[in-house]
């Protein structure tokens, strides 16, 4: 059976409960669903932000996320996968990204979701710009994100 895979890039918000329902409706082979939601932080004090603007590379973003989805399907026995990444202006408290993984058992679903998020952070062509009291600035890549992605590389 082909594993249902949904990948969407959109400006609009998403509904996590609806995405889980869409993935699992009418099926009895799914024993575990893991979701990860990435949400815009407001920051505090001098780091407070009023919004994030996410720029992306249309075409490559879909292709790169698709490659990561294929790799996740090859590495874990998933029975369903949904990845949604928003772009445009996003305010604190709003959703940025959603990963939903389904499997017969929890281990694969947990691991695949973590793998996908680590790769989305370091390999998917998106860039965050923060709006704060002192104007706008591009967010620097975090070295701990590179380290998190590197641990999935087979040696």
């Amino acid at each position: 059976m082909t594993v249902p895979v949904t990948i969407r890039l959109q400006q609009a918000d998403f509904d996590t409960a609806q995405e889980i329902a869409a993935l699992s409706a009418g099926r009895t082979d799914i024993g575990a669903v893991v979701t990860f939601s990435g949400i815009c932080r407001g920051g505090a004090g001098g780091d407070a932000i009023s919004a994030l603007t996410l720029e992306h590379y249309p075409g490559m973003a879909e292709a790169e996320i698709g490659r990561h989805a294929e790799e996740a399907l090859a590495r874990w026995p998933l029975t369903g996968l949904t990845i949604i990444h928003r772009y445009g202006r996003i305010e604190p408290g709003q959703n940025i990204v959603l990963v939903v993984t389904a499997s017969s058992h929890r281990e694969a679903a947990f691991q695949a979701a973590e793998f996908l998020m680590d790769y989305l952070k370091t390999r998917a062509p998106f860039w965050k710009q923060e709006e704060g009291a002192s104007g706008t600035s591009w967010v620097d890549a975090a070295s701990h994100d590179d380290a998190a992605a590197a641990r999935w590389t087979k040696s």
């Binding site: 490559m60 989305l120 952070k121 390999r123 062509p125 998106f126 860039w127 591009w138 890549a141």
Partner: protein
């Protein structure tokens, strides 16, 4: 070939995309960065720290020593910060 820029690389260069026609001696991604850097102050500024610049050819990540022959679209951008 078409070259596209994103995030602060795009801002520093002052445009999102352009068509370029580098000479045959420009063979790799790193060569192209060097050649573009010589085209003006804004390019030199965008590529001043070439080590941090990421590149993609036809929507796939590539390394600096990748050949650019046959590329339709080459992208330059900072390290990614999505997710």
């Amino acid at each position: 070939m078409k070259v596209v820029y994103f995030a602060w690389v795009r801002e520093r260069i002052g445009m999102a995309e352009e068509i370029v026609d580098p000479p045959p001696a420009v063979r790799t991604v790193a060569d192209l960065i060097g050649w573009l850097s010589g085209r003006g102050e804004q390019y030199a500024y965008a590529f001043e720290n070439a080590r941090v610049i990421r590149a993609a050819i036809d929507h796939a990540h590539v390394k600096p020593d990748t050949a650019i022959a046959g590329a339709r679209e080459i992208a330059f951008f900072p390290p990614m910060t999505g997710g």
